[in-house]
């Protein structure tokens, strides 16, 4: 159990380091901080607000459901699903209000990075499914979260493509 907890901790640290590298790589100026203009900042503020509501509502839904059903089969996903719902709400709102891609983002590197993250997460999830490690002891395991993340990144990529089409038509 201790090794498992340590594994999760190391995973989070590695994830944070990779996020920092990713952020530095996708920005044209080599800085980690993505720049947004005043309108984008305003939209992102609203996006975070709706994302927060998403987290609260999903947690409330789980609370209600847990009084009638055993949600133990969700395992760690029980904690991650509300966070992922919040992220998808925040990012979707940002994308459709021109506030997801920053002023200093390099679009090519951005798309390459998104594709890599999507493929990496889906790969881990699918491999776990193939090896029967996705659902063990009637509980969803860690790789299910990877599968969820991969799916979400896939949805976000489609949203970005749709927004690009909308913008191209508007020009």
């Amino acid at each position: 159990m201790k090794a498992y907890t340590l594994g999760i901790f190391v995973g989070i640290v590695v994830g944070l380091i990779l996020t920092a590298v990713f952020l530095k790589a996708i920005n044209k100026d080599g800085k980690m901080k993505t720049k947004y203009d005043e309108r984008q900042k305003e939209a992102r503020g609203k996006a975070y607000m709706y994302g927060f509501y998403g987290v609260v509502l999903t947690n409330a839904l789980f609370l209600v459901l847990s009084s009638s059903y055993d949600l133990g089969f969700l395992g760690l996903s029980l904690y991650f699903i509300p966070i992922l719902v919040g992220v998808i709400v925040q990012v979707t709102y940002s994308i459709f209000h021109d506030a997801y891609v920053g002023l200093n983002n390099n679009m090519t590197r951005f798309i390459v990075g998104m594709t890599f993250i999507t493929a990496f997460n889906l790969f881990i999830g699918i491999m776990a499914y193939i090896h029967g490690e996705l659902f063990v002891n009637r509980k969803l395991q860690g790789p299910f979260i990877n599968l969820l993340c991969g799916g979400i990144f896939l949805v976000l990529s489609v949203e970005l493509a749709i927004k690009k089409l909308i913008d191209a038509k508007a020009e």
Binding site: D37, E38, R39, Q40, D98, L103, A170
Partner: protein, 64 residues
Amino acid sequence: MKNLKLKAARAGLDMSQDDLAKAVGVSRQTISAIEKGDYNPTINLCISVCKTLGKTLDELFWEE
């Protein structure tokens, strides 16, 4: 309300929305939103746009 004066001033200098956006440090969509009247810019951005286009605040942003 659409800001046709801004659009005209920009076109007068043969600048695209993207050119103006880069000059004032915002996204092209923000310039488009200002021209369409979908977004009210801050005074700082208005001043920046005026300086770039060589116009006064009255000339670009005052509604008559």
